[in-house]
Symmetry: C2
Subunit: 202 residues, 2 copies
């Protein structure tokens, strides 16, 4: 059955072709400009063809989301290098903030946009879950060096803090801060994370 094997291979290649085009479009042109028609144009196929490989736009976005979470996990792996778990937490949170600020569109897709993150037990949810597990593991290793009652709420709070900082910025809500002069917003965020880590450790 070599033919059906090849057919299956070609099908996966086509899925990848669509996926890659969508991803490239997404990081280059942003969410708004990434329509099915534009993607179809890019890969020189009809828009209807995409529907033969993906149920709808949401399914495509889940794919992008999965890749983005994978990327985040990779960065975590390479950036969190310390042996001290508290130091690890510091590296983790800063890495998170930097990732969000450097990849606003991907961050959007992963943590802000409405549609995805709906279905359980798919790749996207798996990768997202892994990233969160990375955080909870670090926090658990911190043990009683964190001034938190249990690891679960500690993880939630910690995540909420960094996500709050990033998402307020990504969606331009930090103008009310009225930063004096041309202070780098990126540094202020990192500083806030620093202060937070200091605050929750004893």
């Amino acid at each position: 059955m070599g033919i059906s094997d090849r057919k299956e291979r070609e099908k996966q290649e086509m899925r990848k072709l669509i996926m890659n085009a969508a991803m490239e479009m997404f990081v280059k042109e942003g969410y708004e400009k990434t329509s099915l028609r534009n993607i179809a144009d890019k890969i020189e196929y009809s828009p209807a063809t995409i529907y033969l490989y993906y149920k709808d736009k949401d399914e495509l976005l889940w794919g992008l989301q999965a890749e983005a979470f994978g990327k985040l996990n990779e960065i975590f792996q390479t950036s969190v290098t310390a042996t001290d778990p508290v130091k690890q937490l510091e590296q983790l949170t800063k890495t998170y903030v930097e990732f969000g600020m450097n990849n606003p569109d991907l961050y959007d897709l992963m943590f802000i946009i409405r549609s995805p993150m709906n279905v359980k037990d798919d790749e996207s949810w798996q990768n997202g879950s892994n990233a969160f597990k990375f955080l909870t593991d670090v926090i658990e290793r911190c043990g009683d060096r964190l001034r938190y009652k249990d690891a679960k709420t500690a993880a939630l709070s910690c995540w909420a803090m960094v996500h709050g900082l990033v998402s307020l910025n990504v969606r331009g809500r930090c103008k009310v801060l009225e930063l004096p002069g041309e202070e780098d917003i990126n540094k202020i965020l990192i500083q806030s994370v620093d202060e937070y880590i200091e605050l929750i450790t004893r």
Copy 2:
């Protein structure tokens, strides 16, 4: 010039008619269903008419945003009743979280959606700025009872925390938490806020 006065009055009434219809639609049907055509249908005018009173959809959204911020300010005023500034901060943060959880669509419009919050010196920005000032004022009154270096970063961090909690929930990102049983997510959030307040006070 009584005529032009009446004309101006009628113009404002029309603006209000559109605004109210849009707001009603927004809180009842959500953002997705609130299209210009639907609004126009509701007030029994042509969609084109709306453009005679609002430059575009964004301008309309700014109006809604302004009202929502006004509403939030009101709630702040009636809910923050304590004399102790730290207690005030606790009331403020909890009120914020509850507002977000009870009015997800409005919260969306105020703190998540992309388009608005662009232009300075308009009503929406004013009201948003006021809400933030409410927070910074409370924090300043707390003085050295907060374990923060300066009031500004304290305010940012505090806001980031509550916004993080609410927005992760509003956009359904808290499923990774894997809450045991049917625990009320609302209570967990309030609990997290509690713990945070406790954490930053000495």
